[in-house]
């Protein structure tokens, strides 16, 4: 640390020794970047290695089993995947529209003083530990959901609500930054043509902020997919495949919750142990896929700004 700080301060003076430091600084930066990639690759290799035994010991078709009873060597992943999907879908369905509308309100409509109060508050929300939110959901939210007519308050819907709440600050802050970054001259151009404020927001500001908004949504979803503790507390943790019209109001178990709940009790090296790692690898792939899609969407916007 000290050495690098000394190096930096030296380069701020336009001396010859500063010039001599330049290649070293470049090397240091490159090393830092490469090691980040290296670490991610390492984690992935580790996950694959530890999940491979599961794939060799169990036939692939067994993962299609509807039941997850590790004690009976039944490792059906369907209920876990469906549980994750349901909870995430609820979270995204609530958090994305609500987050975007809030961001639009903060960026375009709210008077500046209100924004100055609300924005820090929202950042504080983002800092609440998920276990605390889980607790609140368990104590306060679950009884409410039960009153809606569900057999229990601990359901996919409850988990989705808590996750939506956790994803909201991310979506709001990043989307609001993106809206803020749209030059005033675009708004003026639209208003001066006779467009209303809402038309201007909808047809000029939001399209111009699109790449940032997509990033906001994807990071929000990423947070929802990967979250564990809060979800574990409020979804009921029943590893069965929810069915029918009331599927949202049945207990489910997510992939993350399964890993967190069972990792402590499995025998190291057993089949169950390796299947948990397989679930981890699956989660990694899903998150990776979401990020790739986001990068594609953002990238396309940057290069071909024309579009339709």
């Amino acid at each position: 640390m000290d050495a690098s700080r000394a190096a930096l301060s030296r380069t701020t003076r336009p001396t010859r020794s500063g010039n001599r430091m330049e290649p070293w600084i470049e090397r240091a930066v490159r090393l830092a970047g490469l090691s980040a990639i290296f670490i991610v690759a390492l984690i992935f290799i580790f996950l694959i290695r530890l999940s491979l035994p599961a794939l060799t010991r169990i036939p692939l078709s067994a993962f299609g089993d509807l039941r997850w009873y590790p004690i009976e060597e039944r490792f059906g992943l369907v209920s876990l995947v469906v549980g994750s999907l349901l909870v995430t879908a609820v979270a995204v369905g609530i958090a994305v529209p609500l987050g975007l509308v809030t961001a639009i309100y903060l960026g375009e409509i709210a008077p500046p003083w209100l924004g100055d109060i609300l924005k820090p508050l929202i950042e504080i929300l983002a800092g609440i530990p998920s276990i605390v939110l889980g607790f609140v959901g368990w104590v306060a939210l679950a009884p409410l959901v039960q009153r809606l007519g569900a057999p229990t308050g601990l359901t996919a819907f409850t988990g989705g609500l808590i996750l939506a709440y956790m994803a909201l600050p991310t979506i709001i802050s990043i989307a609001e930054d993106a809206i803020d970054a749209v030059p005033k001259s675009y708004r003026d151009g639209s208003l001066a043509l006779g467009a209303t404020r809402w038309q201007t927001i909808y047809r000029v500001v939001l399209p111009a902020a699109r790449s940032g908004i997509v990033t906001a949504v994807m990071l929000g979803i990423g947070r929802a997919v990967g979250e564990t503790m809060a979800v574990m507390m409020v979804t009921g943790n029943a590893a069965h495949v929810p069915r029918g019209t009331s599927m949202l109001f049945q207990p489910v178990r997510t992939m993350t919750a399964t890993i967190a709940a069972e990792m402590g009790e499995v025998a190291r090296g057993g089949t169950h142990y390796h299947v948990l790692f397989l679930i981890g690898a699956l989660l990694f792939l899903i998150t990776f896929a979401i990020n790739s899609v986001a990068a594609r969407l953002v990238g396309r916007r940057r290069t071909g700004e024309g579009g339709g």
Binding site: Y186, R187, G189, A192, L193, G194, V204
Partner: protein, 275 residues
């Protein structure tokens, strides 16, 4: 006082300045107009008449209120907090500062071109089609295309870019971007076009193109242009107004202003001794 009385469609208004040419209509009527940013008075008791089918140039040193005045005519100043006005501005006989004024409708009739070209980050076509689509002027898709083609032809971009309308507008040169912004305004069928230093971000060739365009547009529109360039004002305008510290010091036919200014301030400014 009725609107018809005030606008006097024949141009026989007592307020009209320089009575030599009675054929042009008085389109914008400014009466005792003052404008404040908070406590700061940016415009002081303006009185003038702007005619249809003419180019009116506004000149004056930086900070004298030219842009503020321009933005008062299409009420773009409304987007700034804490502003206040006194007096009145009438466009085509109607006061534009009434409680029931439809500001969006006003801005459609009074277009504006900005100092820096500000096309939307969309395709060339979508930029021009924006107004007709949003304002609901166009009937169907073919109508939108036709209006877009017409507007682009008027600024000479149809010939240059007709086959590349799906390209991003931001990839155009600054001069083309500015002409695109003018086309975007024309597509909303305005009566009046306000231009705030439309050439200050452009090179000399692009500047000449815009100046020629202004002259041609003046056959059909009322054009008010703010400029820091004396030659430009002299080349392009029929009438010139000289602003100084928020006041309109002198206003009249461009020839008179540049050859025999009545006020010492005006003379000093246009000969470069002040400003």
């Amino acid at each position: 006082m009725s609107a018809a009385e005030l606008v006097g469609m024949s141009g026989s208004m007592p307020e009209s300045v320089g009575s030599s040419d009675g054929a042009a209509d008085d389109l914008i009527l400014v009466q005792d107009f003052s404008f404040y940013y908070g406590a700061f008075r940016a415009l002081e008791n303006l009185n003038l008449t702007v005619r249809d089918r003419e180019v009116t140039a506004l000149i004056g040193p930086s900070g004298c209120g030219k842009s503020t005045f321009l933005r008062a005519i299409n009420r773009m100043n409304d987007t700034i907090r804490g502003v206040r006005y006194e007096g009145d501005i009438r466009v085509a006989g109607q006061s534009i500062y009434q409680a029931d004024t439809d500001v969006a409708d006003l801005r459609q009739r009074v277009g504006m071109v900005f100092q820096r070209p500000n096309p939307f980050p969309q395709s060339i076509f979508d930029n021009v089609a924006y107004g007709p689509r949003v304002l609901g002027l166009a009937g169907d898709k073919a109508d939108v295309s036709e209006r877009t083609r017409l507007a682009l032809s008027q600024v000479g971009l149809w010939e240059e870019l007709g086959d590349r309308l799906d390209r991003p507008a931001l990839a155009l040169s600054p001069g083309q971007q500015q002409r695109l912004c003018i086309a975007r305004t024309l597509a909303t069928e305005p009566r009046i076009i306000l231009m705030d230093e439309p050439c200050s971000a452009l090179d000399p060739v692009a500047t000449l193109a815009i100046e020629g365009l202004m002259r041609r547009l003046a056959e059909r529109y009322c054009i008010v242009v703010v400029t820091h360039n004396m030659q430009q004002a002299a080349r392009v305008s029929d009438r010139t107004g000289f602003f100084w510290l928020g006041r309109l010091v002198e206003f009249g036919p461009t020839n008179d202003i540049f050859t025999l200014p009545q006020e010492k301030l005006t003379e000093d400014y246009i000969t470069g001794r002040r400003g």
